[in-house]
């Protein structure tokens, strides 16, 4: 299964789950109706004179009563679900704050934190997604971690203090890879949905408790008058507590059952990702060795228990509520030789700056293996679109090693700059500078009037370093600026956004390339700053999206070739991939704003359709079966707008080079 199938499956699973939960809600309404009817019967029997036609004892079915109960219950569940979903709509950051986590400063020099950020950075680049911000739960001594967000562009990763304290680098890598596979397998969106629905049912029980508590006061103050109402309310209160709890029990059991399955998948993906079964197995063994201490004590942790790496809760009613499979079982699936014995003692792992440096060196692969990719910046590489699509979202060891090498290829001053909000802006500006000196001068002058002399100087200072970077490393650099740029204040971000646009327009012609960089930088940040919503999957069929696809393919065809026949050939190659025919739009109709809108539409395709669309784009760009690094960058940008993480190795045809 590839990225798209996993995403698709996760979506279907969410749909099915919602049906299950709807069934639970129907059950809850029926049960509540019985309780209310019973209460009314008691009260009516209490007040009624013999022969009163309104007495509830006689008949069981009272439509108006049922209507009220059903409407009330549905309203409560829907309202609170909507509320919770809205609360989590701001994505991963909201979840992290809910858990009392602290954002780790991207510039940190504390060795253990630095190591964590390095691991996350390498993995994000290997997966071809922007580097997610990392949060730390300082108060939690257990070994655990979580990933939260709607999709790769607003994901955050969180770890407990115990995670940093007890795990070595390989184990940490295993845990982080596990979290990344949750991101790539579409589990996070499913998780957030689950939280929302569960919350609705939980609120029912909560209201019951409130009703009961208020009953106590009412009962005390007015002993006799309105006795009937009090009795009904008391019965309703007890009923709500009991039924709400039972409903929540089942809902939680459903959630746990789903979550457990996803854990095995994430474990397996993590091994595939790092090729280090010992890493993730070691981390799990350490959790076992510390007496299952993956516990998280924050009061809000229950709501999102299924998002963690290990079980966030202790031994209560194990089998049903565990959101994670048994540890020994998970370890055995990764490491068949495991004898079920956990380490007797787990010692803290000390991290020093020297160790950190040694590890970074070790992570670097022999240059001769990957030199072909990085060194041959000018050479075109053969690609097979099908193979490339198959690799999306399933990064392997090669991607990890390549991303480590790309990071190593970036000069330290640039990497430092990318971690600091002030300088990270300059990094993006510098990437946008034109190679032509006159044009570059004009752009720098624009920058000076917009952002000030200091920013211009910093940008100019960084430019030569960036000029020396191969195309892939440049994109990697842009991806690493994300955590720092997300620390800008909204006002600062708006200014930055304007600067980027002015820089792009300074040379009077907006290249598709500049647009690509712009969308890679701004798309994700717009979501982060609440200026855009991540696109929802609306379209399952190609037909309504065909005009948008034609426009995008025309633009790609025009970008790659100038000769009309060549354009036609590239366009046709793309259309053939989706079994369509048509004529390319003239160049004038491929203005960037139109293409941008068209890409935005395509981003609303369902995962399996997205795969076809991306396949068409790939076929169009690689019409001759060859892709230059420049074209690869373009593809990655298109993929980024579509919300598909393409690993750098996958894009320039990381498959074995042609003989």
């Amino acid at each position: 299964m590839d990225f798209f199938e996993h995403q698709d499956k996760a979506r279907r699973r969410t749909g099915r789950l919602i049906w299950f939960l709807a069934l639970a809600v129907v059950g809850i309404i029926a049960a509540l109706y019985l309780v209310v009817w019973f209460g009314m019967m008691l009260v009516a029997g209490y007040d009624a004179r013999p022969g009163d036609p309104n007495a509830y004892a006689g008949s069981f079915w009272h439509p108006e009563l049922f209507l009220i109960v059903a409407a009330g219950t549905l309203a409560v569940i829907l309202l609170s679900s909507l509320y919770k979903t809205a609360q989590l709509a701001s994505g991963g950051h909201a979840v992290a704050v809910l858990l009392g986590a602290r954002r780790i400063d991207p510039q940190t020099h504390e060795p253990a934190e630095r190591r964590l950020l390095n691991v996350v950075e390498e993995m994000a680049l290997a997966a071809g997604m922007p580097v997610p911000p990392v949060y730390m739960m300082d108060a939690e001594a257990g070994i655990n971690a979580f990933a939260a967000g709607h999709d790769p562009r607003d994901a955050v990763i969180g770890v407990t203090h115990g995670c940093l304290k007890y795990l070595d680098r390989d184990e940490l890598q295993g845990v982080i890879a596990h979290e990344f596979s949750h991101i790539l397998n579409g589990d996070m969106r499913l998780n957030l949905r689950l939280v929302g629905i569960l919350y609705g049912i939980l609120v029912l029980a909560l209201i019951g408790r409130i009703v009961l508590r208020s009953m106590r006061h009412v009962g005390r103050s007015r002993s006799r008058s309105g006795g009937g109402a009090v009795v009904v309310m008391a019965i309703l209160g007890v009923g709500l507590v009991v039924i709400g709890s039972i409903g929540f029990f089942f809902a939680r059991a459903i959630k746990s059952a789903v979550a457990r399955q996803r854990e095995y998948l994430a474990d397996a993906s993590a091994v595939q990702f790092t090729r280090l079964p010992d890493g993730i197995a070691g981390a799990l063994k350490k959790i076992g060795g510390r007496g299952e201490t993956s516990e998280v004590h924050n009061q809000n942790a229950e709501e999102i228990s299924h998002m963690f790496f290990g079980n966030a809760f202790g031994s209560f009613s194990r089998r049903i509520f565990d959101t994670h499979p048994p540890l020994a079982d998970r370890i055995k699936r990764i490491d068949p030789r495991f004898d079920g014995k956990f380490p007797a003692r787990v010692e803290p792992v000390a991290v020093s700056a020297a160790l950190l440096e040694a590890e970074t060196k070790r992570a670097r692969p022999p240059a001769r293996v990957f030199g072909a990719v990085l060194g041959g910046a000018a050479a075109a590489i053969a690609v097979d679109p099908a193979a490339v699509l198959g690799r999306i979202g399933v990064p392997g060891l090669e991607d990890m090693l390549l991303s480590a090498e790309m990071l190593a290829a970036i000069p330290p001053p640039l990497r430092e700059a990318a971690r600091e909000p002030y300088d990270a802006r300059a990094v993006v500006y510098a990437v946008l500078l034109d190679r032509d000196p006159a044009m570059r001068g004009r752009q720098l002058e624009t920058l000076r009037t917009m952002a000030g002399e200091r920013v211009r100087q910093t940008t100019e200072g960084l430019a030569p370093l960036i000029d020396g970077l191969p195309e892939e490393a440049r994109l990697a650099l842009i991806d690493t600026t994300f955590p720092a740029l997300s620390l800008l204040s909204p006002a600062q971000y708006l200014a930055f956004r304007q600067d980027v646009d002015r820089l792009i327009h300074a040379d009077d012609k907006v290249e598709l390339m500049e647009y690509a960089v712009r969308s890679m930088v701004l798309r994700n940040l717009d979501v982060h700053f609440g200026m855009a919503q991540p696109p929802a999957a609306r379209h399952g069929r190609l037909a309504p999206l065909l005009p948008a696809l034609i426009r995008v393919l025309s633009a790609l065809a025009h970008a790659g070739q100038s000769d009309a026949a060549e354009v036609r050939r590239a366009f046709d190659a793309g259309m053939a991939r989706v079994g369509q025919t048509g004529a390319p739009l003239p160049r004038e109709q491929c203005a960037l704003d139109d293409v941008d809108a068209a890409l935005g539409e395509l981003a609303e395709a369902e995962p399996l359709l997205k795969r076809r669309i991306l396949g068409a784009c790939m076929a169009c760009v690689a019409v001759d079966g060859m892709v230059t690094p420049r074209e690869a960058t373009l593809l990655r940008a298109v993929a980024a707008v579509l919300g598909v993480p393409i690993s750098p190795l996958a894009a320039p045809g990381g498959e074995t080079p042609p003989a």
């Binding site: 704050v97 109402a229 620390l487 909204p490 600062q492």
Partner: protein
Amino acid sequence: MITPAYWVLIAVGAVIVVLVLVVIGIYNKLVLLRNRYKNAFAQIDVQLKRRYDLIPNLVETAKGYMKHERETLNAVIQARGLAVDAGRRAAANPGDPAAMTSLGSAEGQLVGALGRLFALAENYPDLKANQNMLALQEELASTENKVAFARQAYNDAVMTYNTGRETFPNVIFAGMFNFREASLFEVESREEREAPKVSFN
């Protein structure tokens, strides 16, 4: 038959539910905003610390040339010490009015003392040409910019938080849940900066 009394009860119940949700919402929103300005202060803190680390090197370099300006050099060291303390207190409790004011004035003094040092350095051509000194001066200036930038982000976040705290109905609950008003970080202006004279031995 459902009597009006039950309708009232149902209505009251519905209002309670909505109210509880709204209160929880307000609480979470305020936590989120508070978290944001605390994160923003962490950014200032990083830059301030970097600058505090540069200053001893700067003084050490200058010492070799400015033998007769011990007073000025000591003033820089002294101001740095005060600023480091104030910075530590502010980092422990970002937004606290007392801590932010004392950091602001300590920073003001430090910037003033550094300004006097650089002004005097103009009289020492050898020092001005010293590569180490040039590099440090450049580094200090760029860090100063980053401090200002981070300060702007922090102040933006504090303003958003304070506004969120003071709007109705949040203001009712802000006091109840102990969300105190946060202080901006403002470095005192030059005139005020000159006023306190510190005596040295």
